[in-house]
Symmetry: D2
Subunit: 479 residues, 4 copies
Amino acid sequence: MDEFDGLKEECGLFGIWGHPEASELTYIAMHSLQHRGQQGAGIVSSSGDYLFGARGMGLLTEALSKEQLDSLKPFPHAIGHTRYASSGGSELSNVQPFLFKSHKGDLALAHNGNLVNAMNLRRALEDQGAIFQTTSDSEVLAHLLRRERGGGEESFEGRKKRIKKVLKQVKGAFAFMIMHQDSLTVALDDHGVRPLMLGKKDGSYCVASETCAFTAIGAEYIRDIEAGEMITITDEGIDFDHYTDTTSPHMCSMEYIYFARADSEFRRTSTYRIRKELGRSLAEEMQGIDADIVIGVPDSSLAAAHGFSEASGIKQEQGLLKNRYVGRTFITPGQEARERAVRMKLSPVRDIVEGRRVIVIDDSIVRGTTSRFIVKALKKAGAKEVHMGVSSPPLKNPCYYGIDVSTHAEIIASTKSPEEIRDEIGADSLTYLSVDKMHDVYHSFGSKGQCDACFTGNYPIDIEEAILPQEKDLKQKGV
Amino acid sequence: MDEFDGLKEECGLFGIWGHPEASELTYIAMHSLQHRGQQGAGIVSSSGDYLFGARGMGLLTEALSKEQLDSLKPFPHAIGHTRYASSGGSELSNVQPFLFKSHKGDLALAHNGNLVNAMNLRRALEDQGAIFQTTSDSEVLAHLLRRERGGGEESFEGRKKRIKKVLKQVKGAFAFMIMHQDSLTVALDDHGVRPLMLGKKDGSYCVASETCAFTAIGAEYIRDIEAGEMITITDEGIDFDHYTDTTSPHMCSMEYIYFARADSEFRRTSTYRIRKELGRSLAEEMQGIDADIVIGVPDSSLAAAHGFSEASGIKQEQGLLKNRYVGRTFITPGQEARERAVRMKLSPVRDIVEGRRVIVIDDSIVRGTTSRFIVKALKKAGAKEVHMGVSSPPLKNPCYYGIDVSTHAEIIASTKSPEEIRDEIGADSLTYLSVDKMHDVYHSFGSKGQCDACFTGNYPIDIEEAILPQEKDLKQKGV
Amino acid sequence: MDEFDGLKEECGLFGIWGHPEASELTYIAMHSLQHRGQQGAGIVSSSGDYLFGARGMGLLTEALSKEQLDSLKPFPHAIGHTRYASSGGSELSNVQPFLFKSHKGDLALAHNGNLVNAMNLRRALEDQGAIFQTTSDSEVLAHLLRRERGGGEESFEGRKKRIKKVLKQVKGAFAFMIMHQDSLTVALDDHGVRPLMLGKKDGSYCVASETCAFTAIGAEYIRDIEAGEMITITDEGIDFDHYTDTTSPHMCSMEYIYFARADSEFRRTSTYRIRKELGRSLAEEMQGIDADIVIGVPDSSLAAAHGFSEASGIKQEQGLLKNRYVGRTFITPGQEARERAVRMKLSPVRDIVEGRRVIVIDDSIVRGTTSRFIVKALKKAGAKEVHMGVSSPPLKNPCYYGIDVSTHAEIIASTKSPEEIRDEIGADSLTYLSVDKMHDVYHSFGSKGQCDACFTGNYPIDIEEAILPQEKDLKQKGV
Amino acid sequence: MDEFDGLKEECGLFGIWGHPEASELTYIAMHSLQHRGQQGAGIVSSSGDYLFGARGMGLLTEALSKEQLDSLKPFPHAIGHTRYASSGGSELSNVQPFLFKSHKGDLALAHNGNLVNAMNLRRALEDQGAIFQTTSDSEVLAHLLRRERGGGEESFEGRKKRIKKVLKQVKGAFAFMIMHQDSLTVALDDHGVRPLMLGKKDGSYCVASETCAFTAIGAEYIRDIEAGEMITITDEGIDFDHYTDTTSPHMCSMEYIYFARADSEFRRTSTYRIRKELGRSLAEEMQGIDADIVIGVPDSSLAAAHGFSEASGIKQEQGLLKNRYVGRTFITPGQEARERAVRMKLSPVRDIVEGRRVIVIDDSIVRGTTSRFIVKALKKAGAKEVHMGVSSPPLKNPCYYGIDVSTHAEIIASTKSPEEIRDEIGADSLTYLSVDKMHDVYHSFGSKGQCDACFTGNYPIDIEEAILPQEKDLKQKGV
């Protein structure tokens, strides 16, 4: 899948406690998580007494200046966040981590995921006089935390109790980092939809959305954080706990298929290996198709194509190349324009595909724009046949748990059958991986349960409250 | 006084209701109020249903882009704010108007002045769970408004009652503009410290910190808004009311002396005329001094020098010129550097001052840096004698009502006698206007009472709560 | 005259030889010459062996960064240039000083004025194979200098001979600074149209377009450089010479009337005094007009109004104020728009003008836009009568000697009589100073001859070669 | 090879004559040539009567604004240039195409390569009075063209004769585009060092450094332009000619090995296929090494690794991943810093390499920094053995023909033997492809002769005149 018409992950998280280079390591780690959010980035550091923040719009290297980073250098604790902002809400005030100052102590917050009952909680809080300054559902958590009372306010146990109470109120998919001046608390929702990893660097604990962040800073990967788990790191050490015992693991399938970097590991297995295996399984479903070469759509589908090639015995070739220079180009819209935009990103290698029967492996199809271009371009370059293989099931439903995939209307498989899609993209054949085979692969790598709602419509967390119209209405109002 | 070492007014306000060019007129009006705040500017417009905002750092022309302005054009109601940000708080999130969105309706807020009990109110609100995102005392009002209940929530009278109740809770100097989607409420504190004017443009009511804004947009100047007054403008018309009847008018003297533009009028008198009169009064106090010419420090003291000249019969000349090109220059700090900076702004006209006994009129002396330079420069240019006349009393005390004059330590007259100051600036004589003569002038132009705390230390509004240390501490914490 | 519809001076020059702070002093001096060019600025410094340059677009403070300035600090010799760029040629490559590197030695060049035979010289040079990279007539001089041979190439006398030979080839108005690594040569054309001053700072010679630059850096003003003079400064000292003996002094009248800063001196007289005197003379011509107050158009006409007031006995008041915050504003063009733009810059002081008969003094009228607005605004503010007095003769003709005044078509007095202009601007009367009276004033202050071509059409330097159509054609071609 | 410590190609060229979308196609084509120069870009268009240009610093998308592109849209002829600027010369004035305006007609020039006799030609021209404004050797050609006389000046044949005469004077590697208002002439040096391709789009001829530009705009690839060839395109058609008949084809080997995009073709063969074949040949040389997997360094060495895998039967895996988000990062220099920078770009996939004997294929080694990191990272990730295979011979010598590879000192193989390099990078073995095997591969794909000077030191074009010290000296002088 090409990001041109693909899905957008909402966020990447990293945090580290008690390291002399905390903010610099956070910066490097965030760089490795850049694929999880390119429209804003921020870091909040703790001096032990107060929190200090810096954030900006754009890629990490644009969002934070050297001066900003330098100002955070003295502090031994830091959390960072990279963010994908939906078009309506691309304002600096929405960039995380959020930082709230108060005479009662500072609070910072970073979130990956989506709260399905955020709107209702927000309305209730507003009715009590709360003022919201962002459109982010994450701000709701801050208000809940501030309003929570009791439990022995100032004690460690008191704070933990209050956080647990609040986490039980929010529903949805969330990996949260909650930073007070003297502690970092991370928590994963009871379905464990979004990934969160625990690591250690020079004796200091760190957390990250993906293990590639650990590789980037040279940290040790300890283990995956589990659904319902809540971990608190302080100068005294690490406290493992759960805010709930009623859990039902449903990790996002798309993390395996597309989002996570190929070198990131889940349960000690790289997504590269998982993707290869998905490709192997797809090869079984496409046994009947004769072809000379198999081509992966760069970069995310190369692994699946590799697995396909190994399983099928059909030679893999780099028949499609990706231009690594991107950025906003000023092409006249209109006739040919959209096609030109894709052509500037992907090119066939003529003398590889000419006269050949080609199988193209893509990890998923969202709108179909890229697939249509690829088939056309390969045929123009001389391919005799182009068979499309997709290493995941037909993507049919929107996600309410933190992935930006627009409306049903834009998802081609929500209204069209595989045969209709094949016809529209002009391929000689189109084969999807079945849902069962997909799950077989995940289980073979130790998965405790995967969310497949975008394929099946079986939403593990009730989405009734995530009534889109309401949210949409609010966005129209300029919130 | 030169802004180089002078006082800083905190803000300029403008609002207009029900005009097809509301945002454009607001933009023009703000341009004319630019002298009241150069470090940030914003506009919030109402469509009648929702509020929409735009704001940025710097001068108006930098702060708001054409795209931002265009986006506000369709809306018939607008308020604007120009802001001077104290060094610690120069962040976009502090730029006003503040805009708060809620399912209960939108709210925008702009403020000129300073609330002396803001810190205490903020602490109390935080104890109740409120989250603050700015360091501005103005945000406190928003929280109070949101929390206020009763009075028949949705009715016009209900809203008015709630606003009144809140205004009674805040203490200090304030000119507030409170915008809901369907109304604009403006209010002045019970001492009327900061100015607020009512005008009319093409049948639509408008308000502004100074009448020069009315001149800029071609609006009619109706009258000065009074202490304790609260005016609400809706599509149905204008509602005149008072949130309190216990008032004690104490308008800021410095507005007359220095801040307001010379063409701005208070009670139908331009500050130009008032300043001339202050200069005339000063002439009486300096009758004994023989001189050949009188020179005003450009631009703000030209009027006082003019009055002085008329009263004394001593010819006024433009013996000092101001370089109108300013901006950050890159001069090596250190020896001579500070003096160079002033020399780049003010130059004597040699052949005017050479061989002459000169009286220089300045409207006030804060640190004394500029005065010292002026005396030295005039003498170097050949002046035989340089007598300094100040058209206001010795400025000795900080302001807690919305003017940024740093600590006592930086105010030369807080620790030094006029004779010591004369010695330090090197003048042949130094004469201040007396407090009584100053008030005589104001009364002669219909003033109902002026604050003179910066001269006398008689603070009309209790400043005990405005305990600076507390605020300072918070700033250190990075709030 | 307001710069809004006024004339534009092309350039400001400053140079200093052999001072440890050469580049910094140049920067400060250029700041004081900013009124002579706001669209680009540059400095070239000499280490004694090589030349090094920095330049940029915009005001000085924008054009040169701290890094650029710092890079020039080590060098003891510097020249600087501020530039007004005509709309067609606003490209960085046109910003001066020009710097040419060669294995034969470096060369830098800065120019104020305009060469009337530049086009012909350029064509001739191009026919010989020369390549031009700018549209500036100044580049012609560089080519001529490079091509000149003989005179004992490497000797001081040889170089002087070559420069003289080249200066004799160029016709027009010029103040040139020519910098080699080991010398600074300055020259003024044989009519001395543009000003050039000699000064001394801490024992080092310096030159500047105006003496205000000397004031800004604390330098001593030695004398005015004369028509036809050529001065060479080296480490050995200063060499006074003339490149021609056939001179005919015709200094630009507009320097006195409008361009030069009021504190700048010519033959030891400030333009402030000259402008006052022009105002006094105008008063004689307007004796028949009864009025209550006289108002100068700020800032440039305040001196003339002052002189008028002294001579006529009519009281001067600041009845018009100028908003000192300028910059590009985003006002919708169309109806009212142009008027709005002026209204944002100039405001009447109502309670000064109301009910009064007013004389307004302006130093000149170019298009008439500003005058029309002033009359209208004063009348709207209540003035009973508005009489316009212009302290110079009717400006009728374009300048070919370095001042940007567009075509005949845009100069109101080129096609309209004073009575027609009066009618168009709506004044009750309009009086210009006569050409003779103007010259009388100049002669009384020691002028040796002034160019009055813009008033009389008597061009002292033949303008036949400055055939505008040719130049225009070239501009169309994108040169 | 990673660009982090690699070679830099100097330029990319594209030109098209007589197409209604000339500038837009040029823009798209340049985007596909971005890998040939990232520090500046420009386009010059011809209206048929005049030339118009736009250029800027940075990547294409930063260098040219939408406004600039729009201004060039009306014109049917265009040439574009992407440029890599060596550190000393990163100034806008060095960005090509150069545009020279003259009353004799306009001239634009774009160049890929390096003229070895540029310094001598420049000195000679300067002695004749020529003024240079850039440090580029390309400007020399412009001067020569302007000075050339005779041949029937204004005729088509006359111009061709003059261009031929000039091309014979310059020595070195060059692909030139010379644009007059009515013609586009392209020429390749007599050794054909740099590539230049001829194509056709919608009936209009176009030229490009690589065929990937044709793919990007949907143009047909006609043929490779030959050494000594000179082609002139006008509205009348295309004229094929040679400026010299003494040719000796020596195309740059590095274009095949590293520079050209994998989908670009030479003599109808993609570099992807050539690189695979280089990898196959390398496999023969490494037959003795037992390994479990072979890994290509992404992206440029994946093809060679693929060939290696096919020939050796050792399975290829994506054991190294590249972070596609790049840009200037703010990492503290010093201990660990350089390593961190590489670690942010390349990551091993742990569960692929763990416990395995790995062969890593890189296309070349310049400084060795990246190789050292790769070996270390793979071993840290658990690789049992790491054998390094390089699909080209040891790179030992600098290039004088347009590739930026710094001094001998920085090229590891210029002073160290393969065994010493192996030791320094920490690999278990290190194998280079032999020069002969490399040439065998090229010949098998129809090469007429390749330059191998960087491997062998046999410079096909005499480099005596390209005396680096001279040039260096000039740079020190600030040229």
